[in-house]
Structure formats: C-alpha cells, structure tokens
Amino acid sequence: MLETRLGEFEEVLLLLVGILGEDAYALNIAEEFSKQTGRTVSIGATHSTLKRLEDKGFLKSFMSQPTQVRGGRRKRIFTITALGTRALETSRALRQSLWQQFPGFSQQMIYEF
C-alpha cells in the first residue's frame, strides 16, 4: 500500500502544481520551488517526486501540445487531483489544529488580534 501522508517536499510540490496551473511541468516546478523557498533542487529530484505523487493518486499528468521553443518536443503537465486536494486540506487542518494547541504561540496570537 502506498503511503498517503505527505512529506514536506511533497506538500510544497503539490501546492506549486496548484499555483502554476497550465505551466506545471518538471522544469518550471523546480525553478518555482527555488524561487519561492530559496533552496535549489534538481529537475530529476522534482520529477521523481512528481512521479511518486502521481503513483499515489495526488497528481495526474498529460502531454502538452508540441511547442516551437522545445524543438517540437512535448512537456508533461501535472494537475492536482481531488485526492491531492484532500491530502493538502488534511495536512493543513492537522497543522492548524496543532498550532492552536501550541500554548506559547496561540497566546501571542490572541494578543495580536
């Protein structure tokens, strides 16, 4: 059985796929990851994780129309599935719940509000 929980890297990638929409292919996702987090990651590592997420059913993919830029070669565009969205929501809910139970932090938030 495949692991259904999300790792940190997986979670970020899922979010990035959602953000990038039509442009969510491996190279672009890797570059966006670097831009957003300041950490570099290879295309291979990104691709490998995307493939894993696809195997888990959180992503699906299709080949785009060939473009001139890539010498007629197509790219694989990833889109998030309903299962993927649910996994993200579960993960966020868990975190929020944890944040709220964290006394030091929730106190502070009360003061701020």
């Binding site: 292919y25 491996a26 190279l27 291979g44 590592a45 691709h47 490998s48 070669r73 197509r74 790219k75």
Partner: protein, 858 residues
C-alpha cells in the same frame, strides 16, 4: 537563441543510454529548455555544468531503464542456490566460521608452501643449457669410508675438454674468494671467482656492456656485476676503465653483467681469468696433487653421462697413482635441490624438505577439508527435510549435487580471500624464518590460475562427501519423520581419526626435531667457543704477527693469542692417514689436518687428555698433537712419545679431547695438528675473563689498524660461527612447529564443531537422563566417550608411523637422540586433554542446565 550553442552531446548520449525511453521526450525537453535559458542569462560554461548535473540527477530508480535482460531459468536457479547458500552460512554462524576459518588456514599454508617450492625449484633454470650442464665431482674411498669431494686438480678440465668429444665446454674455477678493490678512494670487499675456460659460454649471464666472447681474453681483464660497477663507475660505461686490487694488480674492466639472480646457485660480484703468465699458475698446469678447484662442463644433448664419468676417471688414473677415487658428474638441476651425498650416493638435500613441507601442507589442507565434510554431513539431518521437499518438488539428484557443490564453492571462495589476506600478513615473518624472499604477486595471471584450481579442487574435495551423501536421501522416509543418518558414524569416525593421526604426528615430529637440536647443542664442544675471536690474516697481519701478539697481550685485555692455518670452526685439510709402526695393512683412515703456532691448546681452551701443547722450542716442528678420535682410529695404546710418519717422522707429544670443528651432528674425525707457525691464515684471540668484548674489540682494532691502515678490521666471534651450524635445523624446526600448531588448531576447530553439534542433537537425551538421575559427570563421560575413543585410535596409529619417519630422519645424523616412546604417550595425553576439554566445555553447559527447559521445548 544562439544557434551555435548546443547542450553537451556526451551528456545527452549518456542520458539516452540510461533513461527510460518513454521519459526521453519530456526530460530532454526540460533539460534543453533550461540549458538555453541559462545560456541567455550568463556563461555557457555554467550552462554546460548545470546540464551535466541535471543529467546525473536523473540517475534515480524511477527514471533508469532496466539495463540487464530478464534472467533465464538457469540463472534463476543459480541465484536461488546462492541465496540458499548464503542463508545456510548465516543461519549457522559458528559452523560457518569454523568451516571457513579452517579452510582459510589450510589454504594459506598451502599457498605459502607453494610459493616457497616454486621459488626453490626455479633455481638455475635461466641457463640456456640447463639440462646439459654438470659439475665434475668425485667419490674418494678411504677404507670404505666414502667421502664426496667437489675439489678437483687444476689441469683436469683442460684434459676433459681435449679428450672427451661429447663435452662442449669445460671450465675450472676457484671457490668464492673475497677480494678488496679500490679506485684510489673507495675500498670495498667483493666476492668472486677466478675462472679458466669459456665460463660465459657455459653459463648464461646477461651482459650490459661488453660481450661474452672477449670478456676473459686477457689475464688482466675483469668482469663486474652491475652492483659492483655501480659502486665504482656510477652512471658511466666502465668498459676499458681500470680498477685495482688492494695492494695488488690493476685490472681492466672488460664487461659488465647483471647481478646473478636470487635463484642462482652460483653467485659472484666479479669474474676474472686465471693469470696464465703467473709462474705459480704455470706450475699448477702440470700439478695433479693439488685438489682445490671446481670444474663445470657442458655436453651435447642426450649424452650418456656414464661414459663421460668413466672417461674422467680414466684421465685421473693415468695421471695419478691414487686409485681410490671415482669421478662422476652432478647435473645443474640437482645443484640446489640434491646437493648432499652420503657414502658416495646422492642423499637429496633441500628436496627432502620441499617434499616434507609439501606433504605437511597437503595434510593440513586435507584436515581442513575433512572438517568441512564432517560438519556438513553432521548437519545433514537438519537439512534432510529441505532435501526431501526439493526432491518431492522435482529436483533430481544431479541438481542437488550441483547445489551442494555450489554452496561449498561459495564457502571456499570466502576462505580463499581470507587465506590471501593472511598470506599477505604472514609473508614477511615467513621470509624471516625461512630466510627466503618470497612475494605474492597478485597481478601474475599464472597465479590466478593456481588460485582457481585451488578453489575448485578444495571445493570439489570438501564438497564431494556431503554432496553425494546428502543428495541420496529418500524423501518419503524423511518426510515421514525417519532420521536419515543414525548408522552413518563410521566414515565420519575415520575422518576424525585421520585428522588426529596427522596432528599427533606433526606435534611429535616437532618435538623430536627440537629435542635433537637441543641434544646436539648441549654436546661437549671440546673447546671453549665463548670469548674467542678469530681474525683472517689479511694485509700485513701475518708478517707482523709477533708485534701484534705482543701488543695484544700487553693491552691486558687478551689472555692468549695463536695463529692457525684455518679457522677453528672449519676443516680445510683432509688427507689419508699417516703411517705408524704397527699399522695394519690396508688401513685407510681419512684424517683432518691443521697447522698452528704456539699456544694453540691454551687459546682454544681444549683440554688435554695426555701430554702437552707445543712449547715454542725447535723440537716442536718434529712433533704432532692428535685428538682422541685419531688415537682410537689408529688403535694406539700409550701413544705419547710414539712416532708417526707423514712425509717426515713426527713424535706424538699430546692427545687432545675431541673438539667439534665441523658439523656438530657428526662424529669428530681424527685430527692431527702440526707446528708450522709460518703456514698461518688466521689469528685466534682468547679474551681475558674480566674484559667486556666491546672494550676488547676497540683495543684490538687500534692495534690491527696500525698494521693495516687501509683495511677494515675484520673479526668473527667463534661462538657465533659455531651457532650458525644449527641455523638450518633450527629453521626447519620453527617452520614445522608453526605447521603443527596450525594443524592441531584446525583439528580442534573441527572437534569443537562436532562436539557442539553432538551436544545439540542429544539435548533431550541428556535431559531425560538427568531426570532419571544421572549426574553431571556421568553425562560428560557419556558425551566425551565417543570422541576419546577416536583420539585413542588415532594415537595408536600415529605413534608407530611417526616413530618410523623420525627414525629415518635421525639416521641423517651420526650424533643423535634415542627415540623415547614416552614422547608419544605425552603427546597423546596432551591431545586427549585438549579434546576432552573442548568436548566437556561444550557438554557441561547442557549437562548442568535444568532438564525441564530442554524437555519443555516439545
């Protein structure tokens, strides 16, 4: 986008090679896109780098295609065998360690011995004429006492060359001589030969400068080895240059040859021709009484050597009156390996030790293999079910045999790697003990062939019994629950007995060798070798003897000084017996001779049995000292004052106790000592009792260098020289001792494995017996009885066998120990105790355990 910039094609090719084809389009698209983007942004070099990096980052399981084709059925089977083999090894760690460790030890010993034997039999093979070269030697018969002599007369070689057509070349040469050379600055001492005849045509040496045909043309020529040439003419071509013998002639370097290899019987630093102009040499040309030279000959192929031997004997008989010598030829291939003669018959030599050690190595390897067989068959019942299931599922017997061989060969492979590692570690120590220079060259392909053969051979031998035996099980009866091997103890018993026979034999053999050496060492030497120093009479030492003697004595560090013809640790002069009144006819006794000066007996510390030493009076020149052996051989009664005739008449003035001058393993030969102070070659110095040798040597060096300012002060301690006579036997005993230890260790490993196994198998039996009231000791006796029975049988076999072998070996020595049967009993007791303790330690645990625990299991 610039058109001349492309992604690195090598990286692309590589990517294409390993990437799954279905990923190619998207991945290469991504990588190219990134490449062109970074080119537009900055340096192209960086883009290349990034591209490569990205390609390498695609080396991930998800992206790499299957590079190996789907395995066939056969390789699945081998994979399976490998897996099962590996599991069996891991499941029984103790057994595996014993098996692999024992085999590894056995193989390490075999590899070592093989290396050594290989080195020894490679001796002299580099000579082109290897099989046609001989040394001329003679058996000299002294009244039935035959003594084999390598010393020949000077003219013989020339006559052999002229008169015997089958002989291609004949060469005569001196024994190795030590000569001091100088170029005006550096003085060195070098060893070499003077030769006559075509030395460089007979034997092959590699010429660096000059050539074989002209090297010995001129009597003032000299041929140097590379290392000697490097001392005096570093980096230059020395041919035509001059080198001087210290206080002697100038010689012209005619050629330079490579140093004789380590595996050459003949070694030298230089070779020079006899000086034919020298009147002394001229005289020798017709001198048929002086036996001092070695003669080498080479013959045509397929020569009948018997006829050559007869022809040589014939030449000698025509020129001399003595007819007690038979001449014959000793082939080059035997020089190193079979150099010893006993009563005129070749009695072997090194070859015996090669054979002995070869045998020992084989025995040790066999012991290790036996361990393996024993443990595997013993464990067979644990695997019986596995075999039955395999058979039921359709394995035929040959497949099972294959499987077991496969497992054995895996184990053997492990053991082999271990063995190589240990040989590497042990080799330096082995070289030290065996005084050899062996190396393990792993890059030598022939070596790998040997390794492969060893692995397969050992694998086959060690695996044969379990493979054939285990594969023969009847599946039905085993699956019904029958035990497969209840009445199969006999062959295993035989194997264990064999192991112990070998170990007992090796241990007792070692002890016997040790005992013999100690016996000879504690023998009365007949003189006092401690605090005695001998100094070769080089340079002006002998001319200035009186001065030196007085100064030495005046220094207060020296008790007494004498000069002799030869060192006290050697005999240089052998001769037929003198005549004496009442000598029985046809008595021919081989005598040793020595000439000395004043104070001989006192300096050597020889005790006189009767009579007195030389006194330095004129009457001494007509006097002689004999040793006890001489008196006994001549059957003289009341010898003092009797006359002997040896050229001139001599009066016997003293009888010395027998001093061991030659081999301590032989009887002391009859010795006569004449007074001839000017005929000296050595000075012997007895140090004063209360003086330390360092102090004394320093004082002596000053005195000697005053006389010989150019020469280094050379000296030898007599006790050290005497000790060297034991070196050979001591070496052998050390090696055999090490092997005996290894053998008994491997045996014990095997015993340990067997004992552990037996105890495991009988756990429940032990528990039941305990419940029924057996005591711990009764259980121990029960378990050890079987093993001790085997060890005792081994003892009964090993005793007589070793006795016979040892007796045979001891017959090489005239002075030897009597074999004591008690020795075998002691060794036997030792082995019994060791095996008992191994078995008992194992059994004790089970015997002490609460029986409920083991019975509870079921």
């Amino acid at each position: 986008m610039s058109s001349d910039q492309h992604p690195p094609s090598r990286a692309q090719k590589f990517l294409r090679f390993f990437l799954k084809p279905e990923l190619w389009e998207e991945v290469s698209g991504d990588l190219d896109e990134q490449f062109y983007t970074s080119i537009r942004k900055g340096s192209s070099r960086k883009a290349y780098w990034i591209y490569w990096l990205q390609v390498l980052h695609y080396l991930r399981p998800f992206a790499v295609r299957k590079l190996i084709n789907t395995p066939s059925n056969l390789s699945i089977m081998y994979q399976h065998n490998l897996l099962i083999g590996w599991r069996t090894i891991r499941k029984n760690k103790l057994f595996s360690i014993i098996n692999i460790g024992g085999l590894a030890l056995g193989m390490a010993v075999t590899i070592l011995i093989t290396l050594w034997i290989k080195e020894e039999i490679s001796y002299d093979r580099f000579h082109k004429n290897y099989s046609n070269i001989y040394q001329v030697i003679a058996n000299r018969d002294f009244n039935g006492n035959i003594f084999t002599d390598r010393n020949m007369v000077f003219p013989l070689a020339r006559f052999i060359d002229e008169e015997i057509p089958q002989v291609d070349h004949a060469v005569w040469m001196t024994h190795g001589q030590t000569v001091q050379f100088t170029d005006g600055i550096t003085i060195t001492q070098q060893r070499g030969h003077q030769v006559g005849g075509p030395f460089f045509d007979l034997l092959n040496w590699t010429f660096i400068h000059g050539n074989a045909s002209t090297a010995l043309n001129d009597p003032t020529n000299i041929v140097l080895t590379r290392s000697m040439a490097d001392i005096y003419f570093k980096g230059k071509n020395p041919v035509g240059k001059t080198i001087r013998i210290l206080q002697g002639d100038d010689l012209t370097v005619a050629a330079v040859v490579e140093d004789p290899p380590a595996n050459s019987s003949i070694s030298f630093d230089f070779i020079r021709p006899f000086d034919i102009g020298d009147p002394g040499i001229k005289k020798l040309e017709n001198h048929w009484n002086n036996y001092s030279w070695n003669i080498l000959i080479s013959t045509e192929d397929h020569t009948n050597m018997k006829s050559i031997d007869a022809a040589i004997t014939d030449i000698m008989e025509r020129h001399t009156e003595n007819s007690n010598s038979t001449y014959f030829t000793h082939p080059l291939k035997d020089w190193h390996l079979r150099a010893e003669f006993n009563a005129g018959i070749n009695s072997g030599g090194l070859i015996q030790y090669l054979q002995l050690f070869g045998l020992v190595a084989a025995i040790i390897l066999i012991i290790a293999c036996i361990n393996f067989m024993n443990l595997s068959t013993a464990r067979s019942s644990n695997r019986a079910t596995e075999i039955a299931v395999r058979k039921t599922l359709g394995s035929n017997r040959s497949q099972l045999i294959q499987q077991f061989f496969f497992e054995t060969i895996i184990l053997t492979l492990f053991a082999f790697v271990l063995a190589i590692i240990s040989v590497y570690l042990v080799l330096p120590y082995f070289n030290l003990i065996a005084e050899s220079n062996l190396t393990l060259d792993l890059f030598d392909p022939s070596w790998w062939l040997v390794g492969l053969v060893i692995i397969l051979l050992v694998g086959m031998i060690a695996g044969s019994y379990p493979a054939l035996y285990l594969s023969g099980f009847k599946p039905v009866s085993i699956l019904k629950g029958a035990k497969p091997m209840e009445k199969q103890h006999l062959p295993r018993g035989i194997l264990v007995v064999f192991q112990f026979v070998a170990s007992i034999a090796l241990i007792s053999g070692t002890l016997i060798v040790f005992e013999q050496i100690n016996h000879v060492k504690s023998r009365d030497v007949g003189y006092d070798p401690d605090n005695l120093i001998m100094i070769p009479g080089r340079g002006d030492i002998l001319q200035e003897y009186e001065v030196i003697k007085n100064e030495l004595l005046a220094s207060g560090r020296v008790q007494s000084v004498t000069r002799t013809r030869s060192p006290i640790t050697q005999i240089w002069w052998r001769s037929p017996a003198p005549n004496w009144p009442g000598r029985p006819p046809e008595t021919d006794i081989l005598f040793s001779g020595m000439t000395t000066g004043f104070d001989f007996v006192k300096t050597m510390g020889i005790s006189m049995q009767q009579g007195r030493d030389f006194t330095g009076t004129p009457g001494d020149t007509a006097s002689v000292l004999l040793n006890e052996a001489a008196v006994k051989a001549m059957q003289l009664e009341d010898p003092i004052g009797k006359q002997i005739e040896y050229g001139d008449p001599f009066t016997i003035i003293g009888i010395m106790e027998n001093a061991i001058m030659e081999s301590p393993y032989e009887q002391v030969s009859p010795l006569m000592v004449f007074y001839a102070p000017d005929d000296a070659g050595y000075i012997h110095v007895r140090l004063a009792d209360n003086v330390g040798p360092v102090d004394a040597l320093a004082a002596m060096e000053t005195i000697f260098t005053e006389v010989n300012p150019d020469l280094p002060f050379e000296y030898e301690f007599v006790d050290e020289e005497f000790g060297k006579k034991f070196a050979h036997e001591e070496r052998i005993s050390k090696i055999i001792g090490a092997f005996a230890a290894i053998a008994i260790f491997i045996c014990c490993l095997g015993l340990l494995g067997m004992a552990t196994f037996t105890v495991q198998k009988r756990t429940r039996e032990i528990a039941v017996r305990k419940v029924l009231g057996a005591s711990v000791s009764q259980v121990l006796i029960l378990i050890s009885r079987d093993f001790i029975k085997l060890v005792l049988i081994a003892l009964i076999i090993a005793g007589p066998v070793t006795y016979l072998i040892a007796k045979n070996w001891l017959e090489n020595y005239e002075y030897r120990i009597a074999l004591n049967p008690l020795l075998f009993l002691l060794v036997g007791a030792f082995v019994v105790i060791i095996s008992l303790s191994i078995v008992c330690v194992n059994a004790l645990q089970k015997a002490r355990a609460n029986p409920v625990l083991s019975l509870h299991d079921e």
